[in-house]
């Protein structure tokens, strides 16, 4: 079975500072990896995805993530955050070649950007 661990429930950071949100996964088979962002009382918006190819993936809003197979990690980074980046961020995986497309989510990390 697959699982996703987001070690930090909350990450406070000052505006214009860099940030890294950590994600580790556990799976006996290959997976696709995703980061979603959720603003208050809204659904989830896809930030970026890793399906194959280059391990450094660039997404929307200046975010990027790097897939590290040996460390089973997919950490999300942004070099300079804005107040508007304050939201809940979810890491998720899907089994490659699985019969279903079920996303397995982590518990989320609240990014709190302070002025």
């Amino acid at each position: 079975a697959q699982s996703v661990t987001q070690l930090d429930s909350q990450v406070p950071v000052f505006e214009e500072a860099p940030v890294e949100l950590r994600c580790n996964y556990s799976s006996s088979v290959s997976v696709y990896l995703f980061w979603y962002v959720q603003y208050p009382n809204q659904g989830l918006q896809l930030l970026l995805k890793y399906l194959s190819g280059s391990t450094l993936v660039k997404g929307i809003n200046g975010f990027e993530a790097e897939f590290n197979k040996s460390q089973t990690s997919f950490h999300l980074r942004k070099p300079s955050v804005h107040i508007s980046d304050t939201a809940e961020y979810f890491c998720a995986v899907i089994t490659v070649g699985g019969a279903t497309n079920k996303l397995i989510f982590g518990t989320g990390t609240l990014l709190a950007v302070q002025p």
């Binding site: 696709y32 009382n41 659904g43 497309n101 079920k102 996303l103 989510f105 982590g106 989320g108």
Partner: protein, 113 residues
């Protein structure tokens, strides 16, 4: 604004009552998902449809929950009777198919009194 349409946005009802949620996926998306998100947690899949057929409903509490997608387009999720523990955000998502990114609606926030 989300392209997956869900209604209502908010629902408050008393326990033991029936409640229903509606979802209209992105046009052309064959795969539709219902997720439940309890406050402070990530979403968990309740049911997945491929066209009008259920692909995965292993986490759906079938004694009280039901879901249908009769014509393979829009879908309804029903709870009867509702319990206090059902208070959560119910999210609908759709994708072109297996392995494709899922696009989410804005969800229905359910509160059971």
């Amino acid at each position: 604004e989300a392209e997956v349409a869900q209604s209502p946005r908010y629902k408050i009802t008393e326990k033991s009552q029936a409640v229903a949620f509606w979802c209209d996926p992105i046009s052309g998306h064959a795969t539709l998902y219902w997720y439940r998100q309890i406050l402070g947690q990530g979403p968990e899949l309740l049911v997945q449809f491929q066209d009008e057929s259920v692909v995965d409903d292993s986490q759906l509490p079938k004694d009280r929950f039901s879901a249908e997608r009769l014509k393979g387009v829009d879908s309804t999720l029903k709870i009867q009777p509702a319990e206090l523990g059902d208070s959560a955000m119910y999210l609908c998502a759709s994708s072109f198919g297996v392995g494709q990114p899922q696009h989410f609606g804005d969800g229905t926030r359910l509160s059971i009194l």
